[in-house]
Amino acid sequence: MTTIQPPRFAVLQLSGCAGCEVSLLNAGEWIDRFDLAFMPLVTSAYDVPEVDILLISGGVRSDEDLHNLRQAVKRAKKIVAVGTCAISGGVTNLGNRDEVRQLFLSQSERHNLPRMLPKSQPVDVFVDVDLYLPGCPPTPELFMAALLEPPDFKASANVCQECGRQKLMDVKPTHLVGMAGGQVAPDICLINQGYLCVGSSTRGGCRALCTRPGHPCVGCRGPSNALIEKDSSTWLESIQRVFKSMTNIPPEELREALLSPQMALFLFQFSDYAGGDRPARSKDKVL
């Protein structure tokens, strides 16, 4: 009697927060369908073995990250970049600002430890990626979709489609109310309430898990397919158009808020990358 070997997968964690791994542990169904061969958070294995699927989380921050990344991809048939840090640098990119890099450089060197690279980089700067799974972190449902790639899986076009809050055309706020705070009215669109919500241009698939309880979308899933292959100015204009039609917020106030660090963590990084000297990531490769 022969038994069919379940597909093997590995999880390589570079510099990140382990939130992606914690999310993956919530997607418990893989226990029965996959053989987890390597994931230092939960297994005592020190090298990536030959696997069918390699999930990579975290950004490339140190020389050790880069070494581990290059070694690991040689042993995998399919490479999946998981989470914002691996795809576009994520929160660590706040450290790429020049003034912060100078502070970094002024910190004394440590002996016998991985050296910090000049800045944090996404993994596809160094290796080819077959599939991108954005989100900070991606939900368990999206992890299962990345592992199984069911042919009928299709994420919603944007977060608005999953949110269910009602857009009112006759309620037009004149100023932003801040990122959060204040009592949020249930069932009514957060933009109508003056929140800086970018769900209208953020790719869906997360089930709107922030906006439904009342926190504006910060765009952690990256741009929707309509915007993903374009540069960040297109994305910016798209959000500005939404606010122009739904609010009376002065354009300058909106622009300043959109360029703030919290927003820069997610959407801008993703599309600036595409608008730089590298080709845009094809939407067909993004889950």
Binding site: S15, G16, C17, A18, G19, C20, V22, S23, L25, N26, G28, I31, D32, M39, P40, L41, V42, T43, S44, A45, Y46, R61, E64, G90, V91, T92, L94, G95, E99, V100, L103, F104, S108, R110, N112, L113, P114, M116, S120, C136, P137, T139, G178, M179, A180, G181, G182, Q183, V184, P186, L209, C210, R212, P213, G214, H215, S260, P261, Q262, L265
Partner: protein
Amino acid sequence: MTTLTFPLSRIEGHARVEIEVQDGRVISTRFQAMEKRGFNLMVTGVPADQMPVIVPRICGVCSTAHHVASVKALENAYGIQPPPLANQIRELLLLGQLIQNQATSLFIFTMPDRLGVESLFHVDAEEAKKETQFDIARRALMVRQLGTDLITLAGGQFIHPVKAVVGGVSSGIDPGRAAAFQQRLQAALPTACELVDYYWEISTRMKDRIGTWGDDQPAYYIASTERDDPRYNSSIIRVMTPAGECCREFTADTFREELIFEDTDYSYAGRTSYQGGVIRANSLARANMTRRMGIRRADAYMRRLRSEFGHPAHPILLFDLCRGIELVYAIELASQLLEEDFTKGEVDMPYNPRDGEGWGLVEAPRGPLIHHYVIEKGKIAMGEFIIPTVHNMLAIERALRVAAERYITTDSVNLELEKAVGRVVRAFDPCIACATH
């Protein structure tokens, strides 16, 4: 001189242990944190009101503690107090984090040491063994997921929560969802207790095999949970002396007068002492400094701990057993709290942001966590993060020395040392992403 290097797995983040040996004598034991992102530098210039969304990304395991500490630091700077309902929802959030973390540490990080396997998800060749192990794994993941689902219920997003906002929380909890989740907690409680009982049993067996619960000298203990009511949305830090005297108390804004911080040149994490003395934070510290858990099943486990090990107790593998007690406590208490109506009363209060300085304290699973911000022109001029794992660094290295001296002689190094290194480090459940931030 010989240097033995032990890479570490089944902990959060990248770290290793180096032990220097000369002629059978242990020269040093070092715990090296090997990653750094530099959050204290990165947050400089960030608009203050964005901190509660940015800082959970310090760590995906401890994100909830950072989220709440951040909001509390801003409230402290603005001179406001959230309404009671918001505090209850934040407590639920922290209980969700406690369930998630303690279940992960117990079942995924340390149970394999007791079962003699590489991983809870290890595929064993023997069909019978495999089924038993998968059965444990499924139940462990089910219990663990209660934690992230409670974070979702009370915090919106499941890893990096969003619902705690300056002044309160952004919304209450729908009664229907609360009731449904309370039933799940009730249904899962017996399973959690079975798993904890089993964990206690296999831990005792491991102790019989290796001959120790991890003896080490007493240390200072530090926690911010209160004596009769271990709330995690805490307000005061307490220190117990190695002699078991309780307790010196201080508030977060005076931490520098009590704790001494230093950097090392061999790790990206610093270390803390209490006036030069070794500190222990985390589950055992709380257990030693708490009179009772105040809830039925958890108190039964607490009495068992006291009768088996006395009070205060010091062996390091008791950190793991205490996590089991806290897992049961968190499920039991969350279930009790969810009987309240989380829609009645104000969820937040109005406030005016202002420049100044603020400190936010919570009891994270690994001990007291402090966020300290200086705000100028609405932006963070200085941000620092006082991390519980850093308080445990000296204690980890001292416990590693005890283990190394046990297994290293002039003639040989006992191969059990590698396992002992893993057991010692995991007992403290260090979080490297947090420690280095």
